[in-house]
């Protein structure tokens, strides 16, 4: 039975991870993500799962990748500075196609920045933090309940696409307490990585299969194979043969980018019937929605598009939604990191206006409403 409780975003993330089947956590506590580590440390041993506090963030993501290769559903939680440290191994996980979840509770940066205060400054780092042309999946929830369900989805997507998934909370949602009404025994979809059905000697861990996602044997259970950060052939061994390298890189990108319809999730309000379209995600989407509701009461035609999936970006959808609007406004707690994408996608006749707030405070509905009114003047 679902009992109404007051729950913090970070706790909902921890509960979602357990529900998703997380069996391994390695992390180095950092504000504003620390409550996730605290809850996992408390809950995991009771479920027979492993919690390890590591010496730093690089070791944390290393342990997560190792555990995940053996079949564990593994994750870590950090914030901007820790996420920066992890980047090389995020690329390693992408290249070796080891599923894992990295929770990044965003705080004001760059560098140490303002440890306890909020930001959405890691949108582009989530996509481009590690070198090379891999893709990534990133999710940004807007409420405590959504944090729970999207955490489960993050694990599912990691397993389904054999990829690291970045869970982009922001400090506002991570530390917010609000209504949480979830039946702990509720049946939810849980996805496990595809297992090989062939004999061990025929197994190709990086096979060029049609959907781009090869089966992944649990390391150490009879299917012997090679994992390397070098570009590799279908067997997992180093290769610099031109067609092998080309096919591999295209598959690595395509297995995510070609499935954007399946991966992408969003919410729309009055997107068909609006002159001004707001595009906002995470905590800021709540301010944008409140502004939209107030403005519509005043008779102004305003709509909201809220991407829940930040990466991959659904270019066709955004292009279609923005077509013919008087303006598109993108409020966010950074210097136009998502607006930059929208600008790239939307034809130049539609003005894309960023609304950036970078003083560590959450954008308030009035700021959004004022800009909309100015645009419609």
């Amino acid at each position: 039975m679902a009992k109404v409780r007051l729950v913090q975003g970070n706790e909902a993330c921890a509960l979602g991870a357990l529900k998703a089947g997380a069996s391994f956590y390695a992390g180095y506590p950092i504000t504003p993500s620390t409550e996730i580590a605290e809850h996992m440390a408390e809950m995991m041993p009771a479920c027979g799962a492993r919690f390890v506090q590591m010496e730093d963030e690089i070791a944390s993501i290393g342990a997560v990748i190792g555990a995940a290769a053996t079949g564990a559903k593994a994750f870590t939680a950090t914030s901007g500075p820790g996420f920066s440290l992890m980047q090389e191994l995020v690329g390693y996980a992408a290249l070796t196609e080891v599923p894992c979840v990295i929770v990044d509770v965003q705080r004001m940066g760059p560098s140490t920045g303002l440890p306890t205060l909020s930001s959405q400054g890691d949108i582009q780092q989530a996509r481009w933090g590690s070198h090379g042309d891999h893709s990534v999946i990133a999710i940004a929830p807007s409420s405590v309940m959504e944090t729970y369900y999207q955490t489960i989805k993050a694990f599912n997507l990691a397993e389904k696409y054999r990829t690291p998934v970045v869970f982009l909370l922001d400090e506002e949602i991570g530390h917010l307490r609000e209504r949480f009404e979830v039946d702990p025994d509720e049946a939810v979809e849980i996805i496990d990585r595809k297992q090989p059905t062939c004999a061990p000697e025929e197994y190709l861990p990086y096979e060029n299969v049609e959907d781009g996602v090869p089966a992944m044997a649990k390391f150490g259970q009879g299917y012997r194979y090679h994992i390397t950060g070098l570009t590799h052939n279908e067997k997992g061994f180093y290769s610099s043969a031109l067609p092998v390298v080309d096919t591999f890189n295209r598959r690595l990108l395509g297995k995510i980018e070609d499935h954007v319809d399946e991966i992408f999730e969003s919410e729309e309000f009055f997107t068909d019937d609006c002159d001004v379209l707001l595009i906002a995600y995470g905590s800021v989407a709540r301010s944008a929605q409140e502004a939209m509701e107030e403005l519509r009461e005043q008779g102004l035609k305003v709509g909201l598009f809220r991407p829940i999936t930040i990466w991959p970006i659904h270019e066709e959808k955004i292009k279609a939604l923005c077509a013919g609007k008087k303006a598109v406004i993108v409020p966010e707690m950074n210097m136009a990191q998502y607006a930059r994408e929208v600008r790239r996608i939307v034809p130049s006749e539609t003005p894309v206006i960023p609304l950036s707030r970078v003083d560590s405070e959450l954008i308030i509905p009035e700021e959004v409403a004022e800009l909309v009114k100015e645009v419609l003047k």
Partner: protein, 184 residues
């Protein structure tokens, strides 16, 4: 309850204003309302003024923070100095003891109550002042039912100290009934 309450609890680090906000918000949820609770984390939570915020509404709460409270509790002079200017015009101002005496915001509905003194004299410690304050706030504004607040206290305290906290809450309710509000 059609009103949307935007509540800020403020005081000094250690007075339990964040815990108080959590108990109030959870009580509102138990009552069937919606609620959000947030606070400013940071060095200011160790001494200095500290604040915690609660929205209570029968509708969905979107913007989760409180910019301008319509109910402001100040349990220290520093907190009063820092936050009183944020109160909406005509809002409810609840002041502990002589906090802000002689400097009341014009137009505010002021409820003055010796919250910390009540906790100290009846419960032998300042520790329950936050729960006394919750009784005072609900006695004034009736935001959350007593039953829901009792359940919230039971959820948020170890069983051993629940009775003392229920007593603290009821002392707050009783005290609120006797307050004569004033406006300057």
């Amino acid at each position: 309850m059609a009103t949307k309450w935007k509540i800020r609890l403020s005081g000094t680090g250690g007075q339990g204003v964040i815990k108080g906000a959590v108990i109030l918000a959870e009580g509102a949820l138990i009552d069937g309302s919606n609620a959000t609770q947030s606070q400013v984390y940071g060095p200011e939570s160790r001494g200095g003024s500290t604040r915690a915020e609660v929205n209570i509404s029968d509708k969905a709460i979107l913007f989760p923070k409180v910019e301008n409270p319509n109910l402001l509790l100040c349990m220290s002079p520093q907190a009063y100095e820092k936050y009183s200017k944020d109160l909406v015009p005509g809002g409810i101002l609840v002041l502990d003891g002589d906090v802000g005496a002689g400097q009341e915001i014009p137009g505010a509905k002021v409820y003055r109550c010796p919250i910390t003194e009540i906790a100290r004299e009846n419960l032998g410690s300042d520790l329950s002042a936050n729960v006394v304050a919750l009784g005072v706030l609900n006695g004034i504004a009736n935001m959350v039912s007593r039953d829901a607040m009792i359940e919230s206290l039971e959820r948020n305290f170890k069983a051993k100290i629940v009775p003392a906290n229920i007593k603290a809450y009821d002392l707050g309710l009783e005290a609120a009934a006797k307050i004569e509000p004033y406006t300057v």
